[in-house]
Symmetry: D2
Subunit: 342 residues, 4 copies
Amino acid sequence: MVKVGVVGYGVIGQRLADGVALQEDMELVGVADVSPTLAVRALKEKGMPYDLYIAVPENKELFDKAGIPVSGTLEDLVQKVDVILDATSAGVGARNKELYKKYNKKAIFQGGEKNDVADVFFHGYANYEKGLGKQFLKLTSCNTTGLIRAVDCLDREVGIEKVAITIIRRVADPGDYHRGLTNALQVDKAPNHQAVDLMTIMPHVDATGILVHTPVTHGHIITVVATPKREIGKEEVLKYFNQHPRIRVVRLADGFLGNASLFRYARDLGNPRGDMYEIAVFEETIVNSGKDIMFAINIPQEAVVIPENMDAIRAAMEMQTDRLEAVALTNKYLGMGKWMEK
Amino acid sequence: MVKVGVVGYGVIGQRLADGVALQEDMELVGVADVSPTLAVRALKEKGMPYDLYIAVPENKELFDKAGIPVSGTLEDLVQKVDVILDATSAGVGARNKELYKKYNKKAIFQGGEKNDVADVFFHGYANYEKGLGKQFLKLTSCNTTGLIRAVDCLDREVGIEKVAITIIRRVADPGDYHRGLTNALQVDKAPNHQAVDLMTIMPHVDATGILVHTPVTHGHIITVVATPKREIGKEEVLKYFNQHPRIRVVRLADGFLGNASLFRYARDLGNPRGDMYEIAVFEETIVNSGKDIMFAINIPQEAVVIPENMDAIRAAMEMQTDRLEAVALTNKYLGMGKWMEK
Amino acid sequence: MVKVGVVGYGVIGQRLADGVALQEDMELVGVADVSPTLAVRALKEKGMPYDLYIAVPENKELFDKAGIPVSGTLEDLVQKVDVILDATSAGVGARNKELYKKYNKKAIFQGGEKNDVADVFFHGYANYEKGLGKQFLKLTSCNTTGLIRAVDCLDREVGIEKVAITIIRRVADPGDYHRGLTNALQVDKAPNHQAVDLMTIMPHVDATGILVHTPVTHGHIITVVATPKREIGKEEVLKYFNQHPRIRVVRLADGFLGNASLFRYARDLGNPRGDMYEIAVFEETIVNSGKDIMFAINIPQEAVVIPENMDAIRAAMEMQTDRLEAVALTNKYLGMGKWMEK
Amino acid sequence: MVKVGVVGYGVIGQRLADGVALQEDMELVGVADVSPTLAVRALKEKGMPYDLYIAVPENKELFDKAGIPVSGTLEDLVQKVDVILDATSAGVGARNKELYKKYNKKAIFQGGEKNDVADVFFHGYANYEKGLGKQFLKLTSCNTTGLIRAVDCLDREVGIEKVAITIIRRVADPGDYHRGLTNALQVDKAPNHQAVDLMTIMPHVDATGILVHTPVTHGHIITVVATPKREIGKEEVLKYFNQHPRIRVVRLADGFLGNASLFRYARDLGNPRGDMYEIAVFEETIVNSGKDIMFAINIPQEAVVIPENMDAIRAAMEMQTDRLEAVALTNKYLGMGKWMEK
């Protein structure tokens, strides 16, 4: 059993902890945070299923006041684990790294950290082998993680030369009050970082793109114009997507009209927090543009990176050396692709 | 065991079915709907925990095509149960009523139906006794249900003469594409129907109010200016709200900043669908206005009426004749008020 | 002086009337509508700068009650003019056409009508010649009008073979209460009609695309991936766009961050209604994707079609037979491209 | 002619400048800002109708690069004027005050500054006399300004003892990208500052209230529960509002459905920037709540404070000593109340 700690118990950290708890070959030792946030209060109301460590010992009093039991400090947690999933705010991970080095522990950082925090920039499906045995890995961001799933899926089948992507980005998560946009679309400088990151992970693909922020909370939508190495039609594209356990093909005709339908569906499935680990492809958006193929995908930003984080633990700890064996275990424990059996 | 059927498996119907399934003294016989909606597809993906009956037999082919097993027709379902929870679209319930009469079954309608569909306009806490043994009950709408909880709570303690309410209404549920509002506040004619409905349930209170629609999806917020029969301060108000198992007092200072915080918190609690049965009172909004008392509450529109529907079954079926005994059982089976024990 | 009538005094009709009033070689005879809408009430409060005709004579009483002077019926208006700009709701134009035929008048329909309502599907810059002397013209919709401006601009310079477009559509206009979307992105079936329409106007270009609705009101944003006949870089693209009087190149660095910045800027310019006739290209979004060129444009949906409607009058009435002469006059009278002189 | 300078050329500053330019007994000497913002670029594109002074001389190069002519520094401007309207960001006005003192000039600050920046907290209609001859005045914020107009209107007629207000606040202005809220309602601590400010201006009224932020941009909506000194019905309330040149009574039945209708109407009126100086009362919201009166008003946040700022100049410069004479001149030059003549 690989022992895992989660540092930063926010939107991503909570889901990482839940994901680790589901992996039968891992043990979640505990989670750490700096103050009694709503997430920590919910942990308490649930009866403390995970032990809590505090990252800023001076804040102990705040936790006491809120009646929240504390099992130790962040430094205590680090010593008890084999590997840390660091899901702190951007920049904090780089500082925490010193602590992980001090105790010679492995750590996996999220997309918000700078690339040089890690030895390798990692994606479970696209470059699993590069992560094998490394001490510090950095995951791709939510958009890039989902985008690469789709592009890698086609690339392994037919070869992809080039992608031009348009990211229609949700600007905040449900419940965010510290950021937002009201009745405005905001355009970013091109190329967006997701295209650049895709090229770092998949250096044989030429990628560029434009990102537009939109005032919604339930999932990014990305349109992809991909240039394949050989001609490929809608049916073939559908076939490959349908075989991928982290890609769910959905139909507008069935009522999947956009990001909010997928969020509702995940809630109605009874998924914890209404989360969905899969990206979705909208079947009716797949069209040819000359020899290019164009399609739209949905990225559930809160949960999409969880599977690739589990993969990263497998790679860093060399739990599996084979890519497909590793992702298959992650998928199994997370219950991914079960809809494919039907 | 009282046998219950749920007709209409949409936003409310799904939650009613889940609520009934939790009542240890009731049996959920099945649910009915007209077509393979996303909610029905989710039911199938979950492995059909509830039997499905179809309301429009001609649509059978649609269900077959989607691979969804059907246990019979709506008429079959009605014959198998003691009581129906009708959660169909406004107006459909009135038509369905003929079927319920044909088989002499009891039925409980939701707030969207006209009042004359039922023998009594019902609220679990406020007028439980009026529902005892009745054949047809109509529940108050989500806003009115939550509002009455708060007003009835104070009324039973100090007496309330008059309320002037401002409803800041969420305009759609998460995942709704058939209705919406974009960058606009919409004002309705006063008094709003919620004030009128409150007076129907609590005829000794004078109520009026203004309703403004806002382009959000996570919970209505209502401000109440209540005139009590005797002077009452913030501490006393807080005491009464804190004792009520269907009212949760929350603090801005703890991070409960509005309707979206409560939705996030319910997701983080692991509540199915991220639902919350309780209304919330924002502690820091309680102020005196002369001898009046003013405060703001949050109404989680998707789930708030579930407890009162369970109460309605208890009343209609005369499972309990005592109001407090009835609501206590509902609360127990739904797990309400557990936070109060800590 | 060509005599013009505007039928339908809504969002588009009001702006068409204002546009005609600015053309020194046209005379606005009057406008027609069915009831005393807010737009008609504003016309009255301004002192009736335009004569008003009513399309439904039975509604005369409503106008009287609101104190709004009426100059006659729609049928009266049709008889007084040479050409009608029909800006009624989709489908109404097709019915009105019978009246225009009865009096043998020319008419120009908007993008919401079906193509077969007209003899030619028209765009001022792209196919002016096709409209010359025709009785019935149909304009492209707002998105298509703006999109074709950009594509035609490059096509005339370097030749465009193919475009793959992503339309990030604003879902309602400011002040719309009859339609809207709340916290959701909605995906449409591909290809979108704008791509199909572009191919009707520019049959030598292969076009496809995906459209996503977003809950905002200030302008659509379109990303275009265009395949030119020869290699072309950002500087050359910029040069062509900068020379076009109906295209405004703006910089994120100057504060033009998206559709809402452009709306604010138009208000601050003192443009009537805060309107902008030009599309905008965001300079920092222009990038190469292999030999393709990618960029993002903004479409101010309320006013963008006004210039091409003026062009259409010029073509239908054969006021100018030369394309560039015609559009130059429209531009001059609308004050377009003045910023280019500085 | 009183010489006026406007410092801070943002949302409020631009409108103050336009307002001063319309006052026939004032002269707008110039406006000042720190950098070539979009507002300043629009000023340039309009041909510099107002002279521009720069507040940070070191930024001169930025203006030169953008081709924007500069007439001097802020210090130059201050020396040329009799009175400054300071519309800088909150806190900057307090620093600028030192400069105004150095040259012994009068200055009027906006609602964002702290009260102690000024000798008097001012509202044109409610306490004009207090501003007479003072050196430093501070205006009430947009919400408070509009709210006091309505409360003062009734107070002068029947006497108001107490108000309980609910502010449904728009969270950003059209074009704002630096702040926003997405799919959330945010609740503030009670009482809100607007209630407290109202009591500072009208000390004989007891006021409290709750403020809820909503993700829209076109106008705040406030519901007021007012306790009058004698019984008063809807007709009488309407009569007083209808007589007030800064209050516009509108009807839902006519199509004024909320804040966005009013914004659209102002655009359709041809008002510069689509602005409206008046608050609006929604006629169908006026109801009695026992002996209290309840109603909803709309506050056009961008422009509502302009008239009271003009009043403030009149008071500070003692241009008129009589309150009604002063506000009448402001109204006349701004064209307010013209709709009342019809």
